[in-house]
Symmetry: D2
Subunit: 134 residues, 4 copies
């Protein structure tokens, strides 16, 4: 299990007329959260793509507990619960000043860009993650 | 059960560098889909809000089967599976030329704007929906 | 001179907490407007890109006169003022029920995808536009 | 004249299928840039709005020199060129590793939320800015 935390400040563009963060915008917050989680393990998503490995999202689930608002500094905790196979799961918790805003999870699949087919997680990526799972 | 279909064309802004519709953008497609589904029943979401009834999303789940691309004309089928109580559920299927792109569901809750508290679905809304449920 | 009009309905996702369409979202409305303007002339932007011709925006200017709101059905009038060379200019006017919302213009440049360099407007595109300029 | 610099990392959601930052997304980068510029002067935009002062954008102009890409860490330099009256102008320069990506400017107007009418820049805001203009 590996856990990483980032803080993101809500942009005006991301609010809606209810005065809340629009429900669809958390998807891009979680994208930032998982990319930084990987980076903290020594894995650069940009380089993965340049090597021909893509990671499209297969499943996304989110439960909204409280709204977030403009200029809020959100704490997003990302957890990789198990070592990836052909799939990598991230779980997320968003907090504001200690209060739970939402919980979410995404499943992403490793895909070979050339063939468009699923593939196993590259060996070097696995090794960088394995350090955190004993 | 009430089912309604719309067609949406993918905008360039909605693609990402994989050449696919960014996974977070379907949330706003489904927002359009459910608003048009309500409108087809005689319910205008804009008017609901003006009357002080808000409908924030409580749960959102989506499974991505195939990617959609720029300029694709997506068919989104929205189903209201049961009469709403304090909550209204919408289920979605997105197709492109008959092929399944994704399936999703949202649960929204009726909230009183003044008090910020959950409330029951307004009686007139219920009656407009009831016509389709026998 | 060639003029084309489309209507776009404002999505909830596109509003901000002021209750207005977020100022940055008009860029994607104008993208839809110019793509449909080209389509009305028989030119599909998607096919242009598939042929290796890209049209990145070089300049964008917009003056906001009145705000637009959720669910508003905006009329966007797009004008191609002159035949393109290595550059194509579009001018836009957005109206709501006859009232002016904003005016804008974009300059886009024809770029060869392989070389990344500017190129002249393809001959067949020019011919399809020329019909409307006499 | 007051100048402030921030760094923003490009999100995957903000790219398009050309592999570039979508041209419309810079508007929200500049919103972040000007909010942080004001914050550095001791002015919190969120508080301004809570006091009933809104700052809608009146004019936005941008010239794109080079594209930015996913994961790029962009340096955005924001300049307030003169003391605000009923209007406040921000000028922006975006660089990547010292290379110019784009230049832009926005004019925003002070508006009273209740009346919806233009008003002068509040006195305390003016004083906080004046420190930097001699």
């Amino acid at each position: 299990m590996y856990t990483h935390q980032i803080q993101l400040r809500v942009r005006y563009a991301e609010t809606d007329q209810m005065g809340y963060v629009y429900y669809g915008n958390y998807a891009s917050y979680f994208e930032v959260a998982r990319v930084e989680t990987l980076r903290a393990c020594g894995i650069t998503y940009r380089e993965l793509e340049e090597r021909g490995v893509m990671l499209p999202v297969r499943d996304f689930q989110i439960r909204y507990h409280r709204p977030a608002r403009y200029d809020d500094a959100l704490d997003i905790t990302t957890t990789i619960t198990e070592l990836p196979s052909t799939r990598i799961r991230f779980e997320y918790q968003t907090h504001l000043n200690g209060e739970l805003i939402n919980t979410a999870m995404t499943d992403l699949v490793f895909v070979d860009r050339e063939s468009g087919r699923p593939k196993r997680c590259p060996e070097d990526v696995l090794q960088l993650l394995q350090v955190h799972f004993h």
